[in-house]
Each structure stands twice: as C-alpha cells, then as structure tokens.
C-alpha cells in the first residue's frame, strides 16, 4: 500500500474574480502570445522550406511561398538515411537511458538524500562534474575505454555513457528533493517494520513519482538530441541515431537547405509526439508540491 503525501487540493480560489478584471491580464496575454509566436517562427520557416524544391529555394530565397508542393526532399531524406532504422536506434537508446538513469538516480539519491552519507555534498559535486565537463574533453577517454571493452560502435556504449551522465544530474536533483523528505514518515514506516528496501519502494517512490516522471521525460529528450557522443561512438549506419543522420545531409562546401529542412521536420516529429504523450505527466510534475 502506498502512503501518499499529496492531500486533495483544498478550495483556495475564493477571490478568483479579482483576476478576471483589468487590462493587466490582457497585456500579459498579448505578451505571452507574441512570445509564443516568436518561438514558432523558426518552425514556420522549417515547414515552409521543407516543401520547396532546391531550385526554388535558391532562386526565390527562404522567405518565399513554395512554387509547388515538393515532397521529394522528404522522401530523399527518408530513403537516403534509412529513417526507420535511425528512429529505432534513437528510441532504444533514449528509452533505455531514460529508464536506467532514473533508476540509478533514485538509488543513489536515496543513499545521499535519505541515508545522509557523510560528505554527501562533495559526492554530489563530483557527480555534477560529469555534467559540467564539456563532452569534447570526455570523448577521447570514452573512445579508448569503449574500444578496450569491445563496445565501440555499439548502442550499449552510448546507453552506458548517457545513463551515467544523466544519472549524475538526476542524483543531484533527487538528492536535494529527498533531503527535505519528512523524517516523520520514514520513522513511522520504520516503526511499522519496513526495511530500507521496502521504505524506498513503498514510501519514498510513490511520493516523488511526479518528479521522477519529469526526469524521465527530460532524460529521454536530452538523450534524443545528443549529437557529439553518438557521432563518435556509432560509426555504422546501422547503429546511428537521428541527429547523426541529419548531419549526413551537410556536405563539405555545399548545403541542401530544403532537404535539411525536410529532414529536420521528420526528425522532430517523434520528439514532439513523445512530448505530447507525456505532457500531462510533465505539467503534473512541475506543479507537484506547489500546494504544500
């Protein structure tokens, strides 16, 4: 049975009508609307140019309306990079990393945040180094380790690397969340005879589940967008991820803007879909604890 902290939201919106009056509200709405539109401008350009033929793009520039509805760019990209394979690779890598990193973060944060290990501040600081170091500095050591371990050019190498990197951040975040976990609850559980393992799964986990869901979504999207390490580690076309495939459209001195746009469009869709599906979880996570 799960002990849950979150009480039913009490009715606190007694002066709700106050917010419905005044120009201030409209100004805010306009500002937010403009900001949202500004955010959408690059996407609009991508959409506009994804359906343009290269000749049309070169002659009339990126701002013009497409002369014809040109889908060859999309098809070229899909076939040229063998998109389904890349999509599968990206899903496997990002999915595995998201799940594994959350599990690792939870376990280490439990030790650091609830277990109160001596010198935990330093330990967390060390973990954070993994995030703070530029990946360029890590790449050569990682390459040599992977090669020695026989993992170079395997998805497992990338999964392990990102599990560690993401878990470093996850540990930092969860450890500080768990640092404020009500002691009384833990003591009550201990009095009831629950061991450490049981406390983690039955008491701690259910209470921080919203935070964990957010972490899961973030880890997935962050890993999805990673470029450098997959570029170095995954050299076979059969193991590569979507961002690396997208880069293959860029030549030495030539670029093909419409095909790149088409590729970006296709490559973006899975991440958007994932976000939409988990959006509810995300919104719930951010407001979790807001009414504490």
């Amino acid at each position: 049975m799960a002990v849950t902290l979150t009480t039913r939201p009490r009715v606190t919106r007694r002066a709700g009508d106050r917010h419905r009056r005044g120009v201030g509200r409209w100004i805010v709405l306009v500002v937010v609307g403009v900001a949202a539109l500004a955010m959408l401008v690059p996407f609009a350009f991508m959409l506009l140019n994804a359906f343009k033929s290269p000749g049309d793009y070169s002659t009339n520039g990126p701002l013009s309306w497409p002369a014809e509805f040109y889908t060859t760019g999309l098809r070229t990209y899909w076939e040229q990079v063998d998109f389904p394979v890349k999509l599968w690779n990206s899903v496997v890598i990002s999915g595995s990393v998201a799940v594994l990193a959350v599990v690792v973060s939870l376990l280490s944060a439990y030790a650091l945040g609830i277990g109160r290990v001596r010198g935990r501040l330093w330990i967390i600081g060390l973990f954070l180094l993994a995030n703070m170091l530029p990946q360029e500095a890590l790449i050569y050591p990682l390459y040599h380790f992977a090669k020695e371990a026989g993992l170079y050019n395997t998805r497992l190498a990338v999964i392990i690397i990102f599990t560690v990197i993401q878990a470093a951040f996850g540990t930092y975040l969860l450890a500080s969340v768990l640092g404020t976990f009500p002691r009384a609850l833990l003591e009550a559980a201990a009095l009831d005879g629950a061991g450490r393992w049981r406390i983690l799964w039955r008491v701690v986990l259910p209470n921080i589940r919203p935070t964990i869901s957010v972490l899961l979504v973030f880890f997935f999207i962050w890993t999805w967008n990673e470029f450098l390490i997959p570029l170095v580690m995954l050299i076979d076309n059969q193991t590569q991820t979507i961002p690396v495939a997208l880069a293959s459209l860029q030549g030495d001195r030539l670029m093909d803007a419409p095909t790149t746009n088409a590729g970006a469009l296709i490559s973006l869709l899975p991440a958007i879909l994932f976000f939409l599906i988990f959006q509810r979880t995300l919104a719930r996570g951010i407001t979790a604890g807001a009414d504490k």
Binding site: G55, S58, S96, V244, G251
Partner: protein, 432 residues
Amino acid sequence: MRRFRRVAVVAMVAALTATGLAACGGDGDDSGDANVLKLWHYESANSAMGIAWDRAIEIFKEEHQGVEVRFERKAFEQIQQNAGMIINSSEGPDIMEYNKGNATSGLLSSQGLLTDLTEEATKRGWDKALSPSLQTTARYDNGVMGSGNWYGVPNYGEYVMVYYNKELFAEHGVTVPTTMAEFTAAMDTFVAKGVTPLGMSGAEYPAGQLFYQLALSRADRAFVDNYQLYANPVDFKADPVRYGAETFAEWVGKGYVAKDSASLKAEDMGTAFISGKAPMIVSGSWWYGRFKSEITFDWDSFLFPGNTMHAGSSGNLWVVPETSKAKNLAYDFIDITLRPEIQALIGNNGGVPVSGDPATISDEKDRRLIENFNTISSQDGLAFYPDWPVPGYYDVLVSGFQSLINQSKTPDQVLDAIAKPYQDGVAEIKRD
C-alpha cells in the same frame, strides 16, 4: 486502473532495457578472409562522384564474383571529426574517401594509420594517370604533402573559375574576357550601369580565394612551392601577395564587389548567382552540379582571365586504412574508379575527372569545364588554396579580407595581419 498502468510501465521498462541490451550484442564481424569490401564515402547519391562510384561498385561486383561490397554513405562531418578514431579501431572500413591535405590525410599518414600505396601506384600506373600537381595532394612526407609516399588516390579535381550569366552579359553588351584588362573593362561596364559585377561572400572562403587568384596572376610555380610547401620564405609585402591584396582593395573601391558582402556566406553568394542577381562569381567547380540542376537561365564558365596558376587541387582521396582487411580488393576498386568509363561518368554528370577525355563528354558546357581543367593541369597550374599552408589560417584570411571589403583596414594592415600567423605557423611546422 492504477494497477494496470503500473504493469504497463514495468513492461515497457523491461522491454526497452532488454531490447537495448540485446540490440547491442550483434554487429557480426567478418574474420579476415577478404570476401567483403567495406567501402565508405560521403558524396551525395545524385552528385557526379556519387553516380560514378555507384557504377564503379557495380563493375567491381561483376569482376569479383562472390565478394560482398558493404557500402555506407557517411556524413562528411563524421569522417572529418573522427576518421582517426574510426580507422584506429577494428570497426573501420577497408577503403574510404578522405579529405586531402596536411591536416587530414597528411596527419593520419604520419600516424601510420594509412597504407602506403606507392608500390600499387607504380605497378598499376596511377602515377602516370595523374599530373604532377594532382599528385601533390596524394603524396605525403612525414605528413606534409608534395613528396614522399602515396597515401591516397584522387578521382576528381576541382578548380576556381569564373561563372557568368550569359543573359546578363548579352543584355549589357559584355563579351567573355580573355585578359585581365578585358575582365576589368567588362566589370566597368556593369558598374556604369549600376550592377555589381561580382558576387562575393566575405564571411567564408570566396574572398580569400579571389585574393589568391589575383595574387596568382603575378605568380609562378616557385611562389606556390614557397607558399604551400615552404620551399622558401614568402614576403607578404612584395608581389605577388602585395599585388593580390592591393588589387582586391582596388576592386572593392571601384565597386566590382559590394561593400555589404562582408558578412555574406558562400551560400548567399551562390544563391545570388542562381537567382540571376550577380552577373559573375569567382568560385570553385563544387558549385557546378548544383548550378546545372537549379539555374533556369543560360550560363557558362571561363577560366580566371590571364592566369596560368589557378586555385584548385585534386579532390578528396581514396585511402586504404592500415587496419583494412581487404587491401587487395581496395586497390582493385581504386583502379576501377580511374578507368575511362568511370572518369567519363564523372565528367558527364558535372564533375571534373582527373584523367578525363573531353571527347567522351557529350554536353558542351561540361566539356568546357573539363577542357579548362585539363588546360590548367597540363600547364601544371593547380595552386591549391590560400588557407592550406598552416592550421587555422582559414579564419585569419576570412577576417583579413572581411576588413578589406568593408574598408576598415588598408591593404598594408591586412598584409601585416595575415603575414604573422602564416610565418608563426610555418615556423611551428618546420620545428617538428
């Protein structure tokens, strides 16, 4: 409901982890016996090289029954960044396309990662098929190009020329110039009619290449050897370098080049020509295929008037990694790509074959492209690119000529600014 969701989540977690782990085991390795040729290049499928090499692979398969060709098209970026790491592992290809130059093929050859092809080159006659200035980028001595062993074999060439819009030329009564004087007279005509004659990009390579072309108009092979291969020190305050910078500034002053082009990218310059806004651009043969497929008006190209030396070089190289498990097959493949049939395919699709016979090229414009290259090649006129001599020189040149375009510096100041990094860089290379 909640129970169901938990089960679903657990199942998803398990599935992802399992597939993640299982998927990584595979990647079967072929153990040494050479019935597989793993081949990588990064030319797009519809480019001249892409088409010609596809055919080369077919021929290779016909002649090597039972050999499987595992071809993968790679990202330029990936090879550029990781070639050293890739071929230092057992996962690399048996043969691949790689960039020519000291910083790329030169570096890998000096690290012992590339196979010495000298013996094959003499045995199979590659050394006769390629002219001396094409061989410069194929041979490296301790990582410096120009002499020593063969580490790569080029298939195509590239050079800087003048592309022009025939319709704009006719409209303004300008004919194709053959001397520098005619060239400037033609540009004067355009300026007088309020048209900027030369498309330009100050933020990328075109400005440096125009400067180099201008300098080369006063240069001979000895200068190129000094500048590119460090045979003797180069005096930046004397001709031809001084002439190049001063003439460049003069051209900006006369309005041949737009002052607001300082911040433009090469892509902007290209699209300005494609859309018919710029009557001429001075740039390389890498644009040719794209122009051919995208331009709707009548256009053509001519050699930079009056020059015997031109910016240009061999294209990228076929290299055979030292870790290659099928070296003999790789040599066979290189040999096929140099055959007349493949070379003609490169030429007929808008590329510049290294040993192309213009008679085999059907399109008139394509033929001119190749004839012009053969002219340069036969007079030993490939002078490479201005940014090649020292690492990081590209950015030095860009910022130098950007300030000439927007006239924030005098030619003298620019020459000072580009001389020092060059001299420091050469000193560094010579010390090693």
